[in-house]
Structures are given as C-alpha cells and as structure tokens.
C-alpha cells in the first residue's frame, strides 16, 4: 500500500495529493500537459522534495529519503542508458559499480536479459540497438534494481504501435510475476485501457483518487472530457 498525502509549492510548481494505491496493481497516470504528471513521478522517485505531508510505503515513511533508498525505479522518457557503455555494462551498473562483476551478478544479468528478451545483445552499444531493444534493455536495468514500485514516464512514446503493445504486454507480465506496483504516465488512452485497471487523473495541480480506467477515459462525461477533446 502506497499512501500519499502531500502538497508541493515551489516556484511555479504546485501539486497536491491525498490518495492511496494498492501494491501489485498497474495505474495509468493521465492528464493534460503541464498539469503535473512528471512532477508527480519526480516527487515519488525523490528527485523533487515535497513541501509538506507524507509518502508512506507499507507503513514506512519514504519522503525525505534519497532516490536510491525508496524502493522505487523509474524509466525516463529518454537517456535511460549510457550511450558510451555496452548493454552489459549498463545493466551491470544496476547491480554493482565496480569494474569486476561477480558470478552471481552475471547470472542475475543474464536472467534479466532473457526476461525482457535481449539475450545476445550484451556487447552492443545503445546506438546499435533498435528502439524496441533500447526499451527492453532499459526495462532490464530497472528490473535488476529489484524495487517493488515501478514508475514509467512515457518511455515508450517513441515506439510504433505494435512495438509499444509488445512492451505493454511485457510490463504487464513482469508486474504480475514480480508483484510490482506500476504507475505509467501516458498520453494515449488506448495504452491506459490495455494495461491499467485504474487510472489516476492529474489535473489542475491535483492528483485525483484513482478511478476505474473506463470511467476516467469516458470521452464525453469523464473527468478528462476536455482533454480527450471529443468535440
């Protein structure tokens, strides 16, 4: 259970929330541009500090902790991999930051790579991968961090429809196997419907209580009717 009760007032950033999220569930995060979706993820992952309130994960207060101590992994929109390092080293950095990689770590790396389907690409640099392979490698990196909350900040926005669907399926499968809580920011209602039973609407500087995805994305009467622009 992730219980959020906070507000943020900093320069032009304003955001408040009073919600709680189930573990082992996938939530879509939807809302107009500039409403605070990315800020919301930054607050959770610890890149932005809240002004007051609390973030409680399984009865443990995590606001104020550095990003690495929060049990949260995040996939950014871009720059998820270091371009000068091979896929293997990119993934290894999630496990160890020493040059030498232990045998235990090696087998972990291999299983994560096979889980996302990129075995055999160890020695490639990110620029030598296709868009889909890059996403998979980034996902493997996140899995190796072994956190139970996964934040996705539109990492698949640049992928084509069928590749994106594959990635969504993969996320769904992995979330289930690993019992993850997933929050996925998306601009595409179809993505939300495919993967998330519940949707968090972020608008007017407020993170709203999650509601059923179909209800949230109802194009004429739902809370996002303006944004989805059906007229």
């Amino acid at each position: 259970m992730l219980e959020l009760n906070f507000s943020l007032v900093k320069n032009y950033l304003r955001l408040s929330a009073d919600i709680s999220l189930e573990s082992e569930r996938i939530y879509a995060v939807v809302g107009p541009s500039g409403a605070g979706k990315s800020t919301f993820l930054n607050i959770l992952s610890g890149f932005t500090e809240i002004s007051n309130g609390s973030i409680v994960w399984n009865k443990r207060e995590i606001s104020g902790l550095p990003p690495s101590k929060r049990n949260i992994s995040i996939l950014f929109q871009d720059n998820n991999l270091f371009p000068h390092l091979t896929v293997w080293r990119n993934l290894a950095l999630a496990v160890t930051q020493r040059p030498k990689i232990s045998n235990d770590d090696r087998s972990q790396l291999r299983s994560a790579m096979s889980e996302v389907g990129i075995l055999g690409l160890e020695n490639r640099k990110p620029s030598q991968l296709s868009g889909g392979q890059q996403s998979r490698a980034a996902l493997a990196r996140v899995l190796l961090q072994k956190n139970t909350i996964l934040l996705l900040d539109e990492p698949f926005a640049a992928l084509g429809p069928s590749l994106k669907d594959q990635m969504l399926e993969l996320i769904k499968k992995i979330a289930k196997n690993r019992k993850l809580l997933v929050l996925m920011v998306t601009h595409d209602p179809a993505d939300a419907k495919k993967i998330a039973s519940h949707t968090i609407v972020v608008k007017e500087n407020t993170v709203h209580v999650p509601i059923d995805t179909k209800e949230a994305l109802e194009p004429t009467k739902g809370p996002l009717a303006d944004y989805l622009g059906n007229n």
């Binding site: 690495s68 270091f82 371009p83 000068h84 930051q97």
Partner: protein, 506 residues
C-alpha cells in the same frame, strides 16, 4: 560533495596564484602614478585591435565552420586537423611565416610590385590584426564545429522536411548556436588579444601601435619600474574583467541542445551555388592559414645541417614543461565547470602572464634564487594560461553530461567515484584530451614569461629560437622552429588520437 570541495580548492589556488603576484607588485608600486598620453594611446590601441581581431575572427570562422560541417570531401578530417596548426603554432614562428607571405619582401608584395601595384607595409595595425586572425580563426572554427556537430542530426532533418528557405534555416538551425557560442568565442579572443605580447612586439610597436601589454613589458624590462608595470596591469585587468563579465553575463545564455545517441552528422542535398561559396571559403581561408606555415617549414628543413647537439636539453625541458602544464591545467579546470568558474577562469587570461611571472619572481626571491626555480615559475604561469582554454573546451560537454545523465546516475545511486569512473570521465574523454593536447602545444611554444627569467640554467626551445633570431642566425632559428613545430603538433595529434579512440571499458 567531493566535486564541490575540489572546486573550492581549485578556485582558491587560482585566486592565490593570480592575485598574489599583483598584490606583491602593488607593494613595490610607486605612489605617484599618473596616466600619460602614451598610456591613453596604448589603452585605445589595445581595445581597438582586440575588438577588431575578435570580430573579424568570428565573422570569418562562422562560414568556414558551416562549410566544413556540411561538406564531406576527401581530406576533410586532415584539413580540420591542419586548421588547428596556426593556433598551436609558436607565435614567433607564425610571425616569421606571416612576414614571409605579407612582409615587405614577402610573396604578396612581390606579386603586387610585379604587376605594378604599390607595396604595402604589414607593420602596425594591419600586421597585428593579420596575426591575431591567423591565430584565432582556427580556434573559433573548431568551437563552432564542435557546437554544430553537437546539434542533433534530427533537427536538420526536420528543417529539410519543412523545406525551409535560407533565412528560416539560419534562424532555426544556426542562430541558436551562434547566439550561444559566438559571444563566448568573441570574449575569449578579445581577452587573448588584450594580453597578446609577441605579436605586438614583432609586428606592432611605436607610439601608434603599442598595447598595454607591450607597455607593461617595457616598464618591467627596460625601466625596471615594477610599480608602473603593476599600475598598467591593473588597468588591463579592469578592462578585461569588464569585457568578460559583460559578454558572459549578457550574451552567454545557456541553450540546451539534447544530444542524440552518438549518431553521425546527417548529410543533405545542397545547391551548386552553396557549394561554390563553401569551397571558396574553405580554399581561401585554408590558404591564408596554411601558406605561412609551409613557407617556414620549407625554409627550415633546408637548414637542418646547422643544428647543434646543445639543442637536446631545451627540447627535453620544453616537452617536460608542456606535458606537466597540460595535466595540471586540465585537472584544475574540472573545478571550474560552472558559469562562475568560467568567469573566474577567463579572468586569468586578463592578467598578463608577465605580471604573474614577475610577481611570483618577487614573491620568492627572498627565500630562494628565482633563477633556480624558473621551471616552476614557468610551469605555474603556463598552467594558468592554459586554464581558460581547458574550461571553455570542457564546460559545454560537462554541462551536457550532467543534464543528460545525472538523473539516471541518481536512480542507480552512483557515488561520486562511480560517477566519475563510469560516466563523467568516459563521456568527457574527447574534450579532456583535446584540452590536454591544446595546452601542451601552447605551453610548448610559449614565449612569454620565459623571456624574463630564462637563462643558461633553464632554456626552452622557443627561447633558444628567440635568441638565435636576436643573433641574426635566422637559418638556424628556422631549422629549430621546424623541430619545435613538429613536437608541438606531434603532442597535439597524439592527444587527439587518444581522445578519438574507442572506449576500452565495457
């Protein structure tokens, strides 16, 4: 945190080394200092030549950089490397080369008089400007090229897709880079020309073409008037400080170009008219930059037989000096990777190297024989002189690394050591080695502070050449110059090669 500590140490060190000598010199200062007419003339000439030099350099370098960035011809890579030559060329050698082309009995004047045109004189403002442009076009071109190549290739494709006309294309693609880079280059060249010494000494001089730097040298060397030298240095420092602060604070707006994933520059279809223009620019400026060098080398090579065995010690001294100052300057520069750092680092250019050297000389002379530590004084001054280059070369790359990868590194909970080892240094490698190569080459050919202190105990190769020229042994000087140039360029190329090598770590 570790980075912050290092930054504070580096800043303190610099301020101590730069301002310590000034304070010492002021201590020696005369109380009744006045601003004479000659000083006014020197100040005016200093500003005028610096402004014109930097303006012309930037204006000529931009079309050259654009042409080089969009033309892929055989020898392009070689040409870009060759364009580095004038800047790292020892000043005295370059002046010799320019004289052999533009001098009274040079190639150009021979041609002019052959066709019955009046001969022109290079001495004075013309010569100073020619030499300064010669030295600074390559610097500006390389900086522009780096910035253009850093621009995501996707942007050009978008512009092509929109079928933009010439003006819109310039506005969308080029102007953001120009606005970002040109003021920085302008202010750097301006500061360099403010303290330019050997050029003005050889091509300027006289009441009409004397700079503050030359006046400082004369006060120090001929009049032994340390107070007057310090007084002039303070004026120069104020002018340069003002100029640098203005240009960085007013123009130096940061624009963040997101780099893609190391894709090659996109080559697009270009009209014939633009081809003619591009290749004219490349050929004309190329000749201007290359001919003087070829002239010196062809003269020098013919007189190799005049070289003596005693030249080995100065050669080794110079190499030692060059490598040490390259490493010190580059490491020190890592402590100045901020806007404030860039301002402070640039200011060190404004302080005349002669003044720093002279101040250090006076500081230590109560404790030891200054002539025995000529190496250390020269090393210190050369490292400080290299610092602004190191900072300017590395800062854009450094900023980009931080803005692109700091979040990812935090998400991976990297400590400062892991960040340096895996991300910062490998991503910065090309800029890092470029900085080292450049500072090493500059230091190798430097003929500044060494003129004041160098003697029989410690000689560098440029000093030896200078002495040979003074003794009218021009052929021997030319031959030594060829050796000096080869080593300077050799060191530079080795570093460039290291920087371009693929990363071994995986």
């Amino acid at each position: 945190m570790a980075q912050r500590t290092f930054s504070i140490i580096a800043n303190t060190l610099l301020l101590f080394v730069v301002f310590g000598p000034l304070v010492v010199l002021l201590f020696y200062a005369d109380q009744n200092l006045t601003f004479t007419t000659a000083d006014w003339a020197a100040l005016k000439f200093t500003l005028k030549q610096a402004a014109l030099s930097s303006l012309l350099s930037v204006l000529l370098a931009w079309p050259l950089a654009v042409a080089l960035s969009r033309r892929h011809f055989i020898g392009r890579r070689l040409l870009i490397l060759t364009l580095s030559v004038p800047f790292i060329l020892p000043v005295i050698v370059a002046v010799l080369g320019l004289l052999s082309i533009f001098g009274n009995s040079g190639l150009l004047n021979s041609l002019l008089s052959f066709f019955g045109f009046p001969v022109f004189s290079i001495y004075g403002l013309t010569g100073v400007l020619l030499a300064h442009i010669f030295f600074n076009i390559p610097l500006a071109t390389r900086a522009f090229l780096l910035a253009i190549e850093r621009r995501p290739a996707e942007l050009e494709r978008v512009a092509d897709g929109l079928n933009l006309n010439f003006l819109m294309r310039f506005w969308i693609l080029d102007w953001p880079i120009l606005r970002l880079v040109a003021p920085q280059i302008f202010s750097l060249i301006f500061a360099l020309c403010l303290t330019s010494f050997a050029v003005v000494l050889t091509l300027g001089g006289g009441p009409k073409a004397t700079t503050l730097e030359l006046a400082i040298y004369q006060a120090f060397r001929f009049e032994l008037d340390f107070g007057r030298a310090a007084f002039l240095a303070l004026i120069q420092l104020s002018v340069a400080t003002l100029a640098c602060c203005l240009s960085i604070l007013v123009f130096g707006l940061p624009t963040n170009f997101n780099k893609g994933l190391d894709r090659p520059v996109y080559q697009r279809y270009l009209s014939i008219r633009s081809s003619v223009w591009d290749f004219s620019v490349i050929i004309l400026l190329g000749l201007f930059l290359i001919l003087p060098v070829i002239s010196v080398i062809s003269e020098g090579v013919q007189h190799f037989y005049l070289l003596e065995n005693t030249i080995w010690t100065p050669i080794l001294n110079s190499i030692n000096l060059a490598l040490c100052s390259a490493v010190i300057s580059t490491i020190l520069a890592l402590g100045f990777m901020s806007k404030w750092g860039e301002v402070v680092g640039t200011l060190s250019v404004a302080v005349s190297p002669l003044i720093i050297g002279a101040g250090l000389f006076l500081m230590v002379r109560n404790y030891t024989n200054p002539f025995e530590i000529t190496f250390w004084v020269t090393l210190t001054v050369n490292s400080i002189m290299g610092l602004p280059f190191s900072i300017r070369i590395m800062r854009p790359a450094s900023d980009e690394i931080v803005s692109n990868f700091k979040n990812l590194a935090n998400a991976l909970s990297m400590g400062p050591f892991a960040w340096f080892y895996w991300v910062y240094i490998p991503r910065l490698k090309e800029a890092l080695t470029y900085s080292m190569g450049l500072v090493a080459a500059l230091s190798m050919g430097d003929l500044g502070v060494i003129v004041l202190f160098g003697g029989a105990d410690f000689e560098t190769l440029p000093l030896v050449i200078y002495q040979l020229m003074g003794a009218y042994r021009t052929e021997q000087a030319m031959a030594s110059a060829v050796i000096l140039v080869s080593i300077s360029i050799g060191i530079f190329l080795i570093f460039d090669k290291i920087g371009k090598m693929r990363n071994a770590r995986a």
